[in-house]
Point group: none
Chain length 544, copies 2
């Protein structure tokens, strides 16, 4: 049986750009458009030309996309003006792209209050705008704003808007739940009514996440007959965000209820890039990825419950609703006090450390992890520290260097101008394994940890070249008040700016500087250990 085609319309660069705190540059828009094109979406809405300089520039010199159609967003022309006399409309028409999507009012209340025109004037403006786009040889779409509230207020008028757009030649008539207030069970009967005036093969759905139902609403709309889905990568968007394509796409491809009936431009092979696409967007936005994001989150296939962990090893499929590899993600069995031997075993196997279930080293690592966790350590978010610990216990990690002493000073004082300023300074004394003389390094920073980090990474002698591209990108502090004395747990995220690899390390001490120091040392040692392993691999490769 041949499958029906579903169309994916991405508005990350337009509606997603409405997110509080997001401000894409032209270059960033180009990069994201390329990622979306690679992923296989059908439409990439790039922005609103004429509304701001970034979007105007993007559409003057549009990115070359392989299969996705670049789409410009705009507003239906003003009533009482011809299309050629409306400068806003003409700015959109000037965009160099094969498709244009215009927003139109579908709620008669807003036609009256916000536009101040008659219902018929609004319909005429919609029809003339669509006709102008079609006449220019391009694909026309109409976003029916507040469609569902409009339908509840005046169904006949909301339907008239949809029909007018369709009859004027719009390829897609998109039903927008603009304020995100519609609930999943409402879509079926409303859309059934809409399909009486516009065929489902010409209907799109655009939802917002204000009740946390944007994904479900989109899926329900597809079941009710619409064939185009609008959304954004990672669900970014105004207020609570738009429908999250990163969650919708895998459901369409991997869940038989949809996969058996429909196909999209995202093939199974492209789907394996989904996690990567999601992370790239976060990278561009300089955000920490949501660890708990469905399908693509770092923890989406992670488990720390002991009862589950041992069973997952027996048969992962019954515990995972889809295979993590299908979306380019991976399974994680977390090392924690709730898990037991089997999760340590699984963690070690994942690291490529071959150990038997009953081997003594496994018991020793488990005991060490348990006693460290009792002292405040937590390895579930610090896999690099765990790997270092395990490999050290196996005798695989040499001591590259040691820090004999350090001193950190923070001083607040009046400067020459009489202003109160605070300065931070650190001195470390490092002994490199095999070298005769210790190295003294001094670092200044905007705080004590920053100063210590700089001093520590200033000069590691012959190891320096390995850490040249390592950056501390995140630093988290938690005070644990479990026992009698409070201890500080520090989690450090490091980034290799060349390879893009990230790793997490942990340090614990009653003293925050000590705890930070330990996590920083682990971060450096992890990098040196990994580089050493790579050298061995290459040497073996050459020998073979």
């Amino acid at each position: 049986m041949s499958k029906e085609r579903l169309y994916l319309f991405d508005t990350t660069l337009r509606d997603g750009a409405q997110t509080t705190g997001i401000d894409f540059s032209v270059e960033e828009k180009r990069r994201i458009a390329a990622v979306l094109d690679d992923l296989g979406v059908d439409y990439v809405e790039g922005g609103f030309p004429g509304a701001n300089a970034t979007d105007t520039r993007l559409f003057e010199n549009p990115p070359a996309l392989e299969t996705a159609r670049l789409t410009a967003f705009g507003m239906v022309k003003r009533a009482g003006r011809s299309v050629s006399n409306d400068s806003g409309f003409q700015a959109v028409m000037a965009a160099k792209c094969p498709a244009i999507c215009l927003v139109a009012k579908a709620w008669d209340y807003h036609v009256r209050v916000a536009l101040g025109i008659s219902n018929d004037e609004n319909l005429a403006a919609i029809a003339q705008s669509v006709e102008a786009i079609v006449a220019s040889g391009r694909e026309a779409m109409i976003d029916c704003e507040h469609f569902f509230d409009g339908y509840k207020g005046n169904a006949a008028y909301a339907l008239a808007v949809a029909r007018t757009a369709y009859e004027a030649g719009a390829r897609w008539v998109v039903l927008c739940d603009t304020n995100g207030g519609t609930l999943p069970h409402e879509f079926e009967h409303i859309i059934a009514d809409v399909t009486k005036v516009v065929p489902g093969s010409h209907l799109g759905i655009h939802t917002h996440n204000d009740t946390e139902n944007a994904v479900a609403n989109s899926l329900m709309a597809v079941r009710a007959g619409v064939r185009q889905i609008q959304g954004t990568l990672n669900g970014i968007g105004e207020r609570c965000g738009n429908a999250n394509l990163t969650s919708i796409i895998p459901t369409l491809l991997l869940k038989s209820e949809f996969a058996d009936r429909f196909e999209t431009g995202v093939t199974p092979a492209r789907l394996r890039q989904l996690t990567h696409a999601s992370r790239i967007l976060d990278e561009i936005l300089n955000r920490n990825p949501d660890r708990h994001a469905p399908y693509v989150g770092e923890s989406a296939f992670a488990t720390k419950a002991g009862i589950h962990a041992s069973a997952i090893l027996k048969d992962p499929q019954t515990y995972e609703h889809v295979a993590p590899e299908s979306v380019g993600n991976r399974r994680r069995l977390l090392v924690s006090k709730q898990g037991g031997k089997s999760s340590i075993l699984a963690a070690m196997e994942k690291l490529g450390i071959p150990v038997d279930r009953d081997e003594a080293v496994l018991v020793r690592v488990l005991d060490e992890v348990k006693s460290r966790e009792a002292a405040g350590y937590s390895y579930e978010a610090a896999e690099a520290s765990f790997e270092l610990l395990a490999r050290r216990m196996l005798g695989e990690v040499p001591r590259y260097f040691s820090v004999d002493s350090f001193r950190v000073m923070v001083e607040r004082r009046h400067n020459a101008k009489g202003d109160l300023v605070t300065v931070a300074e650190a001195i470390v004394k490092v002994s490199i394994d095999g070298a005769d003389e210790p190295i003294w390094s001094v670092g200044e920073g905007n705080g004590p940890v920053n100063a210590l980090d700089r001093a520590l990474r200033k000069d590691l002698g012959r190891f320096q070249k390995h850490i040249e591209n390592v950056e501390l990108v995140d630093y988290k502090v938690r005070i644990l008040t479990g026992g009698t004395e409070a201890v500080t747990r520090v989690l450090v995220e490091s980034l290799d700016t060349v390879t893009g690899e990230r790793w997490f390390t942990v340090g614990v001490s009653p003293n925050i500087i000590d705890a930070s120091f330990e996590a920083l040392l682990d971060a450096i040692n992890y990098k040196l250990m990994k580089d050493a392993a790579r050298v061995v691999e290459q040497a073996v490769g050459r020998a073979v």
Copy 2:
């Protein structure tokens, strides 16, 4: 028409505790339980007694809850053992609480593979476990693990598990979508089948967010007949999280499709605490609140689109699906100052500072708070700092003392025995208002902040007696990476060991020591301000 009752079952402290990186202390569990009780949920699942020391201690000395029923989680007793011979089961039975929820396998495949027992042995174990709980005079619940996958694999057996639990006396039989793979449209027909063996008034739903449909799935289940909903605050939980009660509760209360038919323990008045409850959990977890969270997020009612913003001013209701105040949140118009004035006014009124809505000081405080929030401050959890700020702007707070300079040093070195030790030392120079000579104080501590705190509180001259009983009891650090430069926000909790009063203060700086210093200063100044007010009150009291 009388409404049907829906029951809310919160598992933040049990399933939520499975979240990667979350590790509640007993004290934190108590605090969260109190927040949930205040909010009006029906059940608070506190943890798994016997599985770890934290949960065992919690249930040995349970928190006193007003209306919510504290619930212990456990596993159905092992097959082939009597309930009294199963030590794990007995550890759960030993919990001091009025309700117990046991997880049971509902998928025959897992009965065989994970438990290695027969289908009938599993049913017998479930019945005997429920009977034992009922015989102890408590409410029994069964979580049917993997119910939906089980139903798809062997419907008759999944239904037999549900019926067995119900017939043995379980108050609630909870259908769990354990791996989160079930889609919204599947609930109606499956639950219709379940209600043939267990009445909907005894059915619960427990969903996970692996396809981003946990909220929709819970709502669909209610429409299909279940009357208990399990979920967590902020949707925390293993992998992608549990059903988010913070989104579900307002939908049940504010959307007519549910509000007209159902009522819950959360009244409209309690619903206004929802945003606060959500933020408190983040505070305890030391997480940045999700700005885009439905209903309670900082941006949930924010808009930056010019076209929308001006229209919202005309008529907010048609642009907002619910009123932000109904969940204790607020509208944010990024083009206008309207948003914050009423909340600042409310905060000042709460402190007993009488100001008119239009008074100039209100605008000045609002401006100051806004500019400080832009710099990284947050007064949501630092009311003492807010009160100090507001009263200072009203000219009510004199300068008691000032710190002209400080120096903090942390040193790691070998001690006389040759061990590596780290010492922290701080020196502060304090000028007391009205005194001629500055006071130098030195403090040692287990970390730089501790040393600084001790030095600062060692000698405040004539104010010393006021701070003698003040202790720093909690200290939280968060790195904010909003702007170009990362800043550190420190939150300090202080305790008067005599009166038991606690207060929270905040400090922000790129330098963690500076930020800590600011919060410590606020903590001391707050105490001096409060004591001064008490002196005035007492004097007035004597005069009358």
